[in-house]
């Protein structure tokens, strides 16, 4: 393989139980064609520093493990080519505003808790004659974007509202709620809407669009949240 260039990976290192404060370690990497940041980090793990902690799994952008903060952007390390990044130094840190467990590993438990709060499952009447529920391609296309979410936590980490208010459900959980509210098969929209109808729910979105800018799957959570708001406002009018 041809070595395209040398890159210095500046990797965030911190173990809150051991270290006084975080630091950045530099590792020089020979970048081969097509090499991703994740491959660079795995190379470090294998050869340069065996104590590096990071999450990784599928290496093809579908599992959502390797969400990181790379050169000032929220990215999946496995979908970020080192060649494509400008400059000789590449800056790799954990997802910001999430508690660090070790190095690049952050505590995702609060995030998954939020997702669990919005009744994130389909409540459907059983289909007639034990077959599938009918859903037209048009109805299916409404949730096309929302079902694509891989729960990587990037949007949650990028949203300034989650930085200052830990109780905010956040873009991922709200998108999940929308995914079911908008599903033509679902019958529990009212319950779910009630769950997100709070100052820490849909009303906290300030349309900053950090989530939409950051999402590695090009989902626009703002759109989902605004749709939920409209459903709440129009539903309120209807119930009167």
């Amino acid at each position: 393989m041809v070595i395209e260039k040398k890159v210095i990976l500046e990797v965030f290192r911190f173990d809150p139980e051991v270290d006084k404060g975080p630091r950045y370690d530099s590792f020089t990497i020979d970048v081969k064609k097509g090499m991703t940041v994740l491959e660079g980090l795995l190379h470090i793990l294998d050869v340069q520093d065996h104590s590096l902690a990071l999450r990784f799994a599928c290496r093809e952008g579908v599992c959502g493990s390797c969400a990181m903060f790379i050169n000032g952007s929220y990215r999946l390390a496995c979908q970020t080519q080192l060649e494509a990044l400008k400059g000789r130094r590449v800056w790799v840190g954990p997802l910001p505003h999430m508690p660090v467990i070790k190095d690049l590993v952050v505590d995702m438990r609060p995030f998954f808790e939020k997702v669990g709060l919005v009744m994130p499952w389909l409540e459907a009447l059983s289909a007639p004659s034990g077959k599938e529920h009918l859903q037209s391609p048009q109805q299916r296309s409404i949730i096309n974007e929302a079902v694509d979410c891989i729960l990587c936590g990037i949007c949650h980490s990028s949203c300034p509202m989650t930085w200052t208010k830990k109780d905010y459900l956040g873009p991922a959980a709200l998108t999940k709620a929308y995914r079911f509210v908008a599903d033509s098969r679902d019958v529990a929209a009212a319950n779910r809407l009630a769950l997100v109808n709070s100052e820490d729910g849909v009303w906290r979105c300030r349309t900053v669009f950090n989530c939409a800018e950051a999402c590695p799957k090009n989902i626009n959570p703002t759109d989902a949240i605004e749709s939920l708001r409209r459903k709440l406002v129009s539903g309120r009018r209807k119930s009167r």
Binding site: P160, M161, W163, T164, K165, A194, N197, S198, E199, G201, V202, W203, R204, R206, R229, L232, V233, R236
Partner: protein, 133 residues
């Protein structure tokens, strides 16, 4: 629980309603004061004559009320954005409500010289009428 949910929704709706009101009220206010006759000096008399027009007067009062709500709720939103706690939020909300009511009355008081022929502010007017009686 229910009322808390409604508060978020209501605040959100009112913020938008007042925004629309402000858009028109402030537009008319600015247009009448500055744009109808550009270059013409604003005098006490010109303001009085404007205020004698009940329509324009109500525009300014709407402006005052809507701006008070929109601005103070805006302060609350900023506090939320920068992570105020729930107790802090409650005290802030009460403070803003009181500030808003007082501010509105103060504004009406300040406008009164232009509304009344006596040229005295509302509170003085009230005081004098009390003395006279």
């Amino acid at each position: 629980m229910r009322s808390k949910a409604e508060a978020g929704l209501l605040a959100w709706i009112l913020q938008r309603v007042t925004a629309v009101l402000l858009f028109f009220a402030l537009g008319i206010h600015l247009w009448v004061t500055h744009f109808v006759e550009p270059g013409k000096a604003i005098t006490f008399e010109s303001v009085v004559s404007r205020m004698q027009n009940p329509l324009l007067m109500s525009v300014d009062l709407t402006l005052l009320a809507a701006a008070m709500f929109h601005g103070l709720n805006g302060v609350r939103i900023i506090a939320l954005d920068f992570g105020i706690g729930s107790r802090g939020l409650r005290s802030l909300t009460w403070f803003l409500v009181i500030f808003g009511v007082v501010g509105f009355l103060f504004g009406v008081n300040a406008l009164w010289p232009f509304l009344s022929t006596s040229g005295r502010p509302l509170l003085e007017e009230a005081w004098w009428s009390l003395i006279r009686s």
